[in-house]
Symmetry: C2
Subunit: 258 residues, 2 copies
C-alpha cells in the first residue's frame, strides 16, 4: 500500500505532518506538497512553466518533496512517475472546513480531484475551526490535528478495503472536538455555503485605488444530511464527490430552448 500525502497549505504545515504520521501504519507514505500556501487556489494544471521538486524533511525527519506547483500539480507529478505507483492520495489536513461551494475553490479538494481524474482514489481531509477561533488564522498552527488525523486513517482504511467508484473522491470534514467527543460519521451531500464577501476599496500612497475581497468569514446552512449539518451536530462529514458537473435536471428544460 503506497499512500501519497499532499496539502494546499505547504509542506511545513502541521496538518500535513499529523496526516503523514497517522497514515504510516497503513503502508508506505510519500509526501509531495507545495513549497508555499495555495489556499483557495482552485484546480490548477501548470503547463506553461517547469516545476521543481526539492528534497526536504518534515519536522519529524520524514523525507518529503516540496514542489513550486499547486496541490493538483503535486499530485500530477507524483502520479506521472516522480514517486513509485500510488494506491491512494490523501490531501490535508486543512485548517478550516471545506464545505458547500468551497469544494470548487479548495486546493485540498482539488488535489483529491486530480487523483480521481487519474483513476486513483482521492481523499480530502479538513478540520473545522474551533468555535472561538473563527477567522483567527494566525493561531491555526497550534490547533490539535490529532483527532482529525485518526479519523483520516479510519476513512482511508475503508477506502483501501472497499475501493471508491470511478471518478469519485471523498471530502472529509472533522469537527473540532476531542476524539471521544465526536459523535460518529455521517455520509452527507454537499451543502450550501453562504459567502459574506464585501469589496473594500483603498488608495495606495500614490492615490491609486486597490481592492480587497474582504467581509465576514463564510458561514453554512446547517441542514440535516449535509456536510455542514453533520459538522454542527458533532459528526464527521464524509461527502462523495464526482467530476460530472452536468445538471441532469436542467438538461430537459434547456432542450426546449432550441
Amino acid at each position: 500500500m503506497h499512500i501519497l500525502v499532499t496539502n494546499d497549505d505547504g509542506v511545513s504545515a502541521p496538518g500535513l505532518l499529523a496526516l503523514a504520521q497517522a497514515l504510516r501504519p497503513l503502508g508506505k507514505v510519500s509526501v509531495v506538497a507545495p513549497d508555499r500556501n495555495w489556499s483557495a487556489s482552485g484546480h490548477v494544471k501548470t503547463l506553461h512553466r517547469p516545476l521543481r521538486a526539492k528534497e526536504v524533511t518534515l519536522a519529524d525527519g520524514t523525507p518529503a518533496l516540496a514542489s513550486d506547483g499547486a496541490p493538483s500539480d503535486c499530485v500530477a507529478l507524483a502520479l506521472l512517475g516522480l514517486v513509485e505507483k500510488v494506491d491512494v492520495v490523501v490531501s490535508g489536513i486543512n485548517p478550516n472546513a471545506n464545505i458547500g461551494h468551497d469544494v470548487t475553490y479548495s486546493g485540498t479538494v482539488t488535489a483529491a480531484m486530480e487523483a480521481a481524474i487519474w483513476g486513483v482514489p482521492g481523499v480530502a481531509v479538513s478540520l473545522d475551526s474551533p468555535e472561538d477561533h473563527q477567522g483567527a488564522l494566525d493561531v491555526r498552527d497550534n490547533w490539535d490535528y490529532g483527532p482529525a488525523a485518526r479519523v483520516a486513517r479510519e476513512v482511508v482504511e475503508r477506502v483501501v478495503r472497499f475501493g471508491l467508484p470511478k471518478d469519485t473522491l471523498l471530502n472529509v470534514n472533522v469537527p473540532y472536538l476531542k476524539y471521544e467527543e465526536i459523535r460518529g460519521v455521517q455520509v452527507t451531500r454537499q451543502g450550501l455555503r453562504v459567502y459574506r464577501d464585501a469589496l473594500v476599496r483603498r488608495e495606495d500612497p500614490q492615490g491609486r485605488p486597490y481592492y480587497w475581497i474582504g467581509g465576514e468569514a463564510p458561514t453554512g446552512v446547517p441542514e440535516e444530511g449535509t456536510d455542514f449539518g453533520a459538522l454542527k451536530a458533532g459528526y464527521v462529514s464524509v461527502t462523495p464527490l464526482h467530476l460530472d458537473l452536468t445538471s441532469y435536471e436542467a438538461l430537459r428544460s434547456l432542450r426546449e430552448w432550441w
Copy 2:
C-alpha cells in the same frame, strides 16, 4: 440588460473582443478581465493580497478594466460593486474546447461558476480548435472568432429570455466551422476527456532537475449526447453545469462503510 464579459486569456485576447462586440446589441456590456493569461488556473478566490483594476481600452476603443486577479476574481470584483448591477456574466471566447474534466481546471468555466455562486446567470464560451491547428497555440490569435461570437449572442439571448435554474451555468463549445456549416445546437452532458500527460525530466545548467507536465494534447471520447460528441458531429454543445458535486450514486454504498 447589463452584461459582464470576462475571460481567462487576458484582456487583450481577440476572443474577448469578438464576444464583447457580439453581445453589444443585447444591452450594456462591461469588460473586467485579467491583465494576463490564466489558462488552467482553476477556481480562485484571492483574499491574501489586494487586487488592482486598471482602466484600459480594447483594440476597437471599448473601455475595459484589467485586473491582476484570476478570472473568478474579476467576476467577484464586478459583482461586489466594481461595476453597476450585472444581469449575466459571459466568459470567453476561449481558444480550444473546454470539455469533460476540463471544466474543473478551466478559468473560462470557473468565471461562469463564480457568477452562479453569486446567483447571476453565467455562460462560458469556447471555440474548438481547427482540425489542423491541434496544439498550435501560437496561431490562435488569428482564428476566426466570428461564428462563435454569433452563437454566444444567440445563447445569451435565450438565457435572458428563459433564465437559468439556481446554481446552474452553461458551458458552450462551438465547432471551428463557418456559421452556415454549423449543424445546430445540442444540449449535452459533460463527456470524458482523455489526458495524455507525460512527465518530462530535464536538468538546468547547474545540473539540477526540473520537470515539465508535457505529453500530447488531450483528446475526448466522441460519445453521442456528450459535449465532445456534439462538437465532433459539427454541432454547438451547450452543457448545463451545476455546483453540487455530490455523487448521489455513491451515497448509499458509502453508508454501508459505517
